[in-house]
């Protein structure tokens, strides 16, 4: 709608009170005033984490912080004693840290799917979840990338990875490195863009409150990154365009990251790693565990910050159905992989499949099948357990089982001897991975770091996407208004031009 049209509308022959105020608001929207009416209740709920710091917040942060510090201590011990102290040996040359890398970078995909996919498919119910999903992606990706450090034997030389003269572009590790770095950039942008309008709102709130160090830091920060937002229609149009674009971009980016991650395994000649199904398997696995993590985080923060009014059980049930679809797909892909490799019966493939299903790795393998395959299906199938508690519990089990699955992906093929000597397999020095306290503590620390960083992130940024939700609310209200206008029209016979919903829509 052009300016001229708006002017015509204003001088036109509208008779009802509603449309006159409406037209005023449209004109002012072009003059740089936010056309979307603020919703106090949403703003209050979204700012709750920023403004109030309860006792439990400190308890949680300190507890989680202690776990993270324990992880750092464990890493220092590993630096001192060598990678062997983490349970590795020449047979299990890749094990827990590689599984952690895959698992933690995998869960970042939850943010991409819940936010980008649902944004693109215009699923309106997503709105209250997107900030939590995006923030989860934002904090888990750096945590996942951190696993490169304990993974390396000579971690002080990590700078060589960013030193172009040393780059060997035919190395899958370097492909991973490029892919993950690009993805990190996209994740930051994807978190930042929907935040822009909310920064302004946060700033207003903080200015009304007491003036302390934190508010001063925030004001400085927001002044740099988000002070120019006025919420006018052209601004909203640009923002929506940019969000649509990045939503489209982040999906292939996430797909490529997780498939490139799998190349480190699947581009080798080792039976059990050489799987063309790996890229797909890794992407679906990432989606699956990612959605599960978003569910767990949403459930926790909804409880902690009393957001039940906005994040409802319906959200969990819907995400639960997404979980079922992804879980079934993942289970099927795993079945395909094992079937094809086991059926072909070549020595190397038959050996690792046998070791995994009924050999020395049968416990973790079947734990995965039950924990990530069957249990969630059962929980979601029954109405009695299909509630927030049930779905959140299922998600925790899924996260654990999917982590175990990553171990099952990494360890059995690595420990399969490549020189098939009968005594080779049986000999005592043919090792497998042995868990020690060091990698377990580091893994736990990384797990604790997710809620810890989220608690901190939501101290600075609203937990609900206020602007997005207000827009949705305005649309819904517009719809209601439209209906009431229609009924007025029907009773009085008066025609009215336009309604808020249509105008906002037409302009954004």
């Amino acid at each position: 709608m052009t300016r001229k049209q708006v002017d015509t509308m204003e001088t036109g022959t509208s008779t009802t009170m509603t449309s006159r105020t409406l037209e005023k608001s449209i004109k002012s929207a072009y003059d740089g005033v936010d056309p979307v009416p603020p919703r106090e209740d949403i703003r209050e709920a979204a700012m709750r984490p920023v403004l109030e710091t309860g006792k439990w917040w400190w308890t949680a942060v300190i507890t989680l912080g202690v776990v993270v510090i324990a992880g750092i201590v464990a890493w220092v011990m590993q630096l001192r004693d060598g990678l062997g102290s983490a349970g590795y040996n020449n047979q299990a040359f890749w094990a827990i840290y590689e599984a952690d890398l895959v698992a933690f970078i995998g869960v970042t995909y939850g943010g991409a799917v819940v936010s980008a996919v649902l944004r693109l498919t215009k699923a309106r119910w997503r709105a209250p979840l997107t900030r939590i999903a995006e923030a989860t992606a934002l904090v888990t990706l750096p945590i996942g990338m951190m696993f490169i450090i304990p993974h390396l034997g000579e971690s002080p030389r990590i700078w060589e990875l960013v030193w172009p003269p040393y780059w060997n572009l035919s190395s899958p590790i370097l492909w991973d490195f490029f892919a993950v770095s690009t993805y990190l950039l996209a994740t930051v942008v994807f978190f930042y863009l929907p935040l822009i309008p909310d920064l302004k709102i946060t700033l207003e709130r903080l200015s009304a409150g007491p003036d302390n160090l934190k508010t001063r830091i925030c004001k400085k920060l927001y002044a740099i990154v988000g002070n120019n937002w006025i919420g006018s229609i052209p601004q909203r149009r640009v923002l929506h365009g940019a969000l649509g674009l990045i939503s489209i971009m982040i999906i292939p980016m996430a797909v490529s990251v997780h498939s490139v991650l799998s190349f480190a395994f699947s581009s080798s000649s080792r039976a059990g790693y050489l799987e063309t199904i790996f890229p797909v398997l890794f992407v679906v696995g990432a989606l699956y565990s990612g959605v599960a993590l978003v569910i767990v985080m949403a459930a926790a923060f909804r409880r902690g910050y009393r957001l039940e009014r906005y994040i409802t059980e319906k959200h969990f049930v819907r995400l639960g159905f997404i979980l079922i679809a992804l879980g079934a797909t993942y289970l099927y892909l795993t079945f395909t992989e094992y079937l094809v490799d086991g059926y072909s019966g070549t020595i190397g493939n038959a050996a690792w499949v046998r070791q995994t299903i009924m050999g020395r790795y049968w416990i973790p393998f079947w734990f995965f099948v039950v924990g990530a395959g069957l249990l969630p299906l059962v929980i979601l199938a029954f109405r009695r357990t299909r509630n927030v508690k049930g779905i959140a519990t299922a998600s925790v089990i899924i996260l654990l089982a999917m982590w175990v699955k990553r171990l099952v992906i990494v360890i059995p093929p690595a420990t399969e001897p490549l020189v098939k000597s009968p005594l080779n397999v049986a000999s005592a020095n043919w090792g497998t991975f042995h868990f020690t306290w060091i990698p377990i503590t580091i893994t736990l620390a990384a797990t604790a770091a997710i809620p810890l960083l989220l608690l901190v992130v939501f101290k600075f940024f609203p937990i609900l996407p206020v602007a997005d939700m207000e827009e949705m609310a305005a649309e819904t209200e517009g719809l209601e208004e439209d209906l009431s206008t229609l009924s007025v029209m029907a009773s009085t016979g008066n025609g009215s031009s336009g309604n808020r919903k249509e105008i906002i829509h037409a302009n954004i």
Partner: protein, 324 residues
Amino acid sequence: MAFNRQKVQLPSRTGTEITGGSCSSGEISGLLPDQDGTYTDSMHPDKSSESREGISRRHFLERAGVVGIAGALVGTGVLEGVGGHKAGAVTTTTSASQATGASSKPAHQWCMVIDLRYCNGCKVCTQACQTAHYLHKDQTWIDVFTMKNASGNTYYMPRPCMMCEDPPCVQVCPVKANFRTDEGLVLVNQSRCIGTRICMNACPYQARYFNWGPAKSAPRQPFPQEPEWPVPQVEGTVGKCIFCAAMLPMGKIPECVGNCPMDALYMGDLETDVAVNASGQVIKLSAFLANNDAVKFKESYGTHPRVFYILGHDQDLDNDEEAG
């Protein structure tokens, strides 16, 4: 010196042509080209690489355009980074190519011959190697596997690094810590290795060993710690058989070859077409390999190993593993 030993009397070998006779105490001065300069066999490296069929990994990548895409990503770093082993094929054994003179062609193309008919599984080779390079017990750079032949009898299979002509371990290293010299030796630069262990994954022969803890300390060595003589090992990096690269220019054969009491191991040179064992017997390599039906381990992996196995009756290398 360890290989100053009495010559062990062995049954005569089928088809062995002893051209150079016995050379003095394990030295390989007999490997110089003027001794036996004729090679008529397809063993010649240049010839064999021309006649090789199929696509090598690097060529595959080049054809698939991956290199081009990656090039677009990083701009000028490309030319140096493209194709791991090409970029890595630096002349680090310059001292070893003393005989080349002005010619750019390297003087040697090292290889090894392992005669499984004679190996008795004593593991002296493994021990000699570990002693010389100050390795831990689990770092079996040359390992000896116990195998079963078709009739259920035991035989032994020593396995050093295969010094692949198309080495996947070099291909996958993100920081170019692995490289292949112009004399065909695949070596690890332990002062660059960051310890991702992706080369351990890539090597189809499990010939790579990590330093999981502090390396075994070693007394002062005649050479500095360098890829040709990585002694002592470096914690957190990968090590593997080096064919005793630093010894070769001095005319000495590797520790394992020089110490094998059964004369089962030969150090060979494809360039001059000769090989020598612990007793100093020198053989004409191409004829020996052809007459004894030499095979390579896991040839289907496209690595083009430079270790040749002579099989005894009923023996095989278990080559029926799935290949790429």
